[in-house]
Amino acid sequence: MGFSGNLKDFPFPDILQVIAKEKKNGILLVEWKDLIVAYYIKNGQIVFARPVDKITRIYTERVFPELLKKLRVKEESIPKIIKKYLLDRLGDREGIFSLIFGFIKYKSTEKAPIPIEQIILEASRKLTPMEVKRKISDEMLTFVITPEGREKLKQLELTPVEKRVVELIDGKRTVADIRKELFPTPTIEVDKALYGLWSAGIIKRVRRGKRHKPEGLTLDILKRIIDKVKDL
């Protein structure tokens, strides 16, 4: 099971958001213009990156500890490798990706050198105004910090704008309110921060309260509609 797409249509923060939410093992393969890179995923975290000459290699070398041995990669060099093949490329849109879950075998000890939420924030800082508008599309959106988000924040490095945005999120202020309070910070910077925090699962959209029951609508009518549709 997996998915594929184009980085122009579906940039890194959105891909990483799915990886982080799914919390599975697998491989994200990106065919960049100049090389193919396999990103190794363990429990929704990026633990390694590796350029490959042939895609088939990732399917034949499935045992992660053995792979590291074969490549002679030391644990302390992994952050540098991830920086080179992932962080430095987060703003690049020339690439096709595919994500496949499963099939990689890990030990229990591998750790992600950089939390995926941090990578999501970094990737969101590199978005264009048009990309940001896809997610922060409505100034009436309202956010709240998630319980897990509070924990995650302790291990993340935020920019000054992101910090101020976090302070203003209270489940009541709308995007418009936050933009207004942070003026003269450019709107795009505020929106990028919201995009990153939302994609990283630190904040979530507040759903409006219980809806008003439409006048004249009874549960009996609803039941009749359900029965009718079932019988179609």
């Binding site: 439409p214 509609i225 179609l232």
Partner: protein, 209 residues
């Protein structure tokens, strides 16, 4: 919130100059029929017109125009510019109306017009095209902020080999487990369309029950 949610409305009929008693009774019965409105929204080429066509008991009324944008022309030759309309008769007193809204953001004024009074919304996405997920998210944001009615995401084109699984579409749309349900859909298949519609109706039932 700009709109007021009204799920049921009575049809007003203009008086006829001359009608037979039989026609008069028929008109009176029609006059009393209550309309329940459900919206089928979603990005361009997500399958809204097909969805309505599959379930409607009447041949849907569509307002299609030839596509003008280069990228859109490459996908399909015509698109909905105002709305699609389909109907399911519930009983002698009630009719379920399905309104399809145009997908492109430039027609968002139609979301505004049709969103008023909707009992619930089905938002369709093209599961094979992640670009449409962004548009779907914009539609969710729009309706959640203005007409917060029960919603269901229909992950359409699940019969195609490169379709994203519904659970990943849910993650891509920033939806939580207890948030808006995402159901697999094949808009050409009646049972699949029924299932999506029933999921929405059950959401509405839970909401008001």
């Amino acid at each position: 919130m700009r709109g007021h949610v009204m799920g049921i409305f009575k049809e007003g009929l203009k008086p006829m100059a001359q009608q037979s008693p039989k026609e008069d009774i028929k008109k009176k019965q029609q006059k009393q029929k209550k309309k329940i409105k459900i919206l089928v929204s979603g990005p361009f080429a997500a399958g809204k017109t097909q969805f309505i066509k599959t379930i409607s008991e009447i041949e849907p009324i569509t307002t299609e125009k030839k596509t003008s944008a280069k990228e859109e022309k490459a996908v399909k030759s015509s698109t909905t510019v105002a709305m699609d309309f389909g109907k399911i008769t519930i009983d002698d007193e009630h009719e379920l109306y399905l309104f399809g809204t145009p997908g492109q953001a430039r027609f968002d004024f139609m979301w505004d017009i049709l969103g008023k009074g909707a009992l619930g919304i089905i938002i369709l996405v093209d599961s094979t095209n992640p670009q449409t997920f962004h548009e779907a998210r914009q539609i969710i944001n729009f309706f959640e902020s203005r007409y917060p009615v029960p919603m269901v995401i229909g992950a359409n084109k699940q019969d195609l080999p490169d379709a994203w699984p519904p659970e990943m579409i849910k993650a891509a749309l920033n939806l939580d487990t207890d948030d808006i349900p995402v159901v697999p859909v094949v808009a050409k298949d009646k049972e699949s369309v029924k299932k999506a519609l029933l999921t929405l109706l059950e959401e509405i039932y839970k909401e008001f029950g």
